[in-house]
Point group: C2
Chain length 113, copies 2
């Protein structure tokens, strides 16, 4: 068992050149013994965005703080705290912070076995 | 892609006789096309608790609201919003609401394949 406040886990900048003002905290992952899926907390600064990309794994997302837009296969959906988003494998997607404060959300992915 | 505020998903009572005042919303699951893991939002009323049990699958937990205690293998850890908990397979665990308001947390589990 492990319990940790998420803010104590280091936020690492997303190195993707298509990302802007985006950081990620790996709060549960393989280093903890997770074998099936990993939990990350993503934060995006006002005006920033995650890369517009697609990949073979799904995302399970829960919005914690802030205000944003999820673009998925060209469709734009506003996001507020408490929103749950499920992005299917290979759907093109991007998160953008449209608010004045940090946008923070959980983003979980499967672990390849 | 699916986006839904979690409170729009029906909260179902936990039928386990060892649970008290506990409900669960299945916000992402197999019905949505999730093949690897499922996201649920658990809520426990003041004074309530989840069953004290163990099972072969892990839990990945993120506390959203309220105040509680996680008992895991006999060890008690206080929980507040923003806490992340990882419960390993087969660890005996129970969540208890020790606050005046609802305790709410995300609890993700793998989907059997």
């Amino acid at each position: 068992m492990k319990v940790v406040p998420y803010w104590e886990v280091t936020a690492e900048s997303l190195e993707d050149p298509e990302a802007s003002g985006a950081k990620m905290r790996w709060v549960i992952g393989q280093k903890d013994g997770a074998e099936n899926f990993a939990m990350r907390v993503v934060e995006i600064a006002p005006g920033g965005n995650s890369p517009l990309h697609r990949h073979p794994h799904e995302h399970e997302v829960f919005v914690l703080k802030g205000k944003g837009i999820l673009t998925c296969e060209g469709e734009k959906t506003p996001l507020i705290p408490g929103d749950v988003a499920f992005i299917l494998p290979n759907e093109e997607h991007q998160f953008r912070n449209t608010g004045q404060d940090k946008l923070e959300f959980l983003c979980l992915i499967p672990i390849k076995k």
